[in-house]
């Protein structure tokens, strides 16, 4: 290995491990993703735009992005309250609750999907009561939001928790001694300190929600133009052997993923810079 490429080290195995890593990464992830980009770019501009701006596709974006945004917003509020309770209060079962937060990561999405459908369907345990109040969750857009709240919850809680631990308690105490109300302490000291983490969690949950498939399709009803998410539309196009349509929509979703990755990076850089500024 030439010196400009890497710093010298006595440790062995650089060529072998980096070689295998890049080979495995390329064959399994990069080449397949490049094939998708290539397939989509082999379409003419008119065809690509016709597929992407089709009325049914646009309706699916509205649902996918709208529901993911709403779910991430709900998680930002309730996930924050959960993280706060776990970090600041001692209560029976706290350790168990803390462990259970990761359940949506570990639970297969199909299981979450049918379980939520069972709870929220009009004959289900909670769905029955909601139906009496005139609210239907399962098989409507609300069902999509509920599924995405479940999927996104751990992202917000696990982002906010460490940031809350880091908040300087002596600053809060000082503010309190100087006559600040608890709400003022929260607004002026706690919230600014955890804002970058909260925003990171929100963005992660939002990004995950846009692409989510398994937990949504069981509870959404999957009606074209109404409760059809974009990933499902891709699956439907594939089932009809419409590879062009599937590739175009897939390319769009992939581009959105990159935008989200970029956004997450920006939020984290902003957070780091703020923290560095506060330390000075």
């Amino acid at each position: 290995m030439a010196g400009w490429f890497r710093k010298p080290s006595v440790l062995p195995g650089f060529g072998l491990t980096l070689g295998f890593t890049t080979f495995f990464l390329s064959t399994l992830v990069l080449v397949p993703l490049a094939a998708l980009v290539f397939k989509a770019s082999s379409l003419s501009w008119q065809d690509l735009l016709a597929i992407l701006l089709d009325e049914r596709a646009v309706a699916s974006y509205r649902l996918s992005f709208g529901a993911a945004f709403l779910a991430a917003a709900v998680n930002a509020v309730f996930g924050f309250i959960v993280a706060w309770s776990l970090v600041r209060y001692e209560f029976p079962g706290r350790k168990l609750v803390d462990a259970v937060i990761d359940l949506p990561f570990a639970l297969p999405t199909a299981v979450s999907g049918i379980a939520l459908a069972a709870v929220f369907s009009p004959t289900g345990w909670l769905g029955q009561k909601l139906a009496l109040a005139g609210v239907q969750v399962a098989y409507t857009w609300l069902g999509v939001v509920v599924a995405l709240i479940l999927i996104g919850l751990p992202f917000v809680v696990r982002s906010v928790q460490p940031a809350l631990v880091e908040v300087q308690r002596d600053l809060e105490d000082a503010a309190e001694t100087l006559g600040a109300s608890p709400w003022q302490v929260f607004r002026r000291i706690v919230l600014p300190a955890v804002m970058p983490a909260l925003l990171t969690g929100f963005t992660l949950a939002f990004a995950r929600g846009i692409g989510e498939y398994g937990s949504v399709v069981f509870i959404s009803g999957n009606l074209p133009y109404q409760t059809e998410i974009t990933p499902l539309l891709i699956v439907i196009k594939l089932e009809q052997y419409d590879y062009d349509g599937a590739a175009a929509l897939g390319f769009f979703m992939l581009a959105m993923s990159f935008v989200m990755l970029f956004a997450i990076n920006l939020v984290q850089t902003w957070g780091r810079r703020r923290q560095a500024g506060a330390g000075r």
């Binding site: 890497r6 491990t17 998708l36 049918i114 608890p182 590879y243």
Partner: protein, 283 residues
Amino acid sequence: MAGAAPRVEARPLTRGARLTRAVLIGVSLAFLGLLLAAPLGAVLAKALAKGWQVYLESFADPDTQAAIRLTLLVAAIVVPLNTIFGICAAWAIAKFEFKGKSLLITLIDLPFAVSPVIAGLVFVLLFGAHGWFGEWLQERDISIIFAVPGIVLATLFVTFPYVARELIPLMQQQGSEEEEAAITLGASAWVTFLRVTLPKIRWGLLYGIILCNARAMGEFGAVSVVSGHIRGLTTTMPLHVEILYNEYNFVAAFAVASLLALLAILTLVVKTAVEWRAGRRRA
């Protein structure tokens, strides 16, 4: 993932603060109960709706057994491959300084950022009947899509980052002095890895493997796209759950789902145990 909750500092509370505490804990528990406990309870209740006998009988179905076998097979191929990859990637990234490292880390995380449906779609575009290699494969009578190899590929894709992502920060934080000492004293590369590095990273490695395994066994979206849903042949457990559910065979669907839920709970138990051990060592 920063799980392990440290002890809460005990402080005297005013009446208002006590009220706030009660309300916030109440809201948290209600939210989590609704979102996590209720669905989990529903899985159990639906699986046992017609009693233990019927619950157990649902596992006697040959298609269900085939689905369980396929899921185990896929995990047995995917988890070791991604473990080897994860160790290699972490060694290269944590032990050496080279150009393009942060780009490599970003690319390794890429499968987490894309929709599982895309993970299936890319392989259909490559190997499907109308894909790039479709004709070539058909002439040679090789099937990848709507067959087990496609399921393995899609699962490899979605579980790709798990082990690497656990090991990279861990090994970066541990540094390389001990490995450098071992090599300088004449230990071979392999002995250095086995005797010096492996004992230091084993809990993180175990955690990564467990997460990788849970996702490999539970993946739905990506596998659903490439599987073709051929009963007893190309249906993994999550896909079999969907088939049973759509046939209104709820007891059987939730019975298989209960196995997957059990797997998830076991994963969380191991995760908590690993974090508890790591936390104790730090203390």
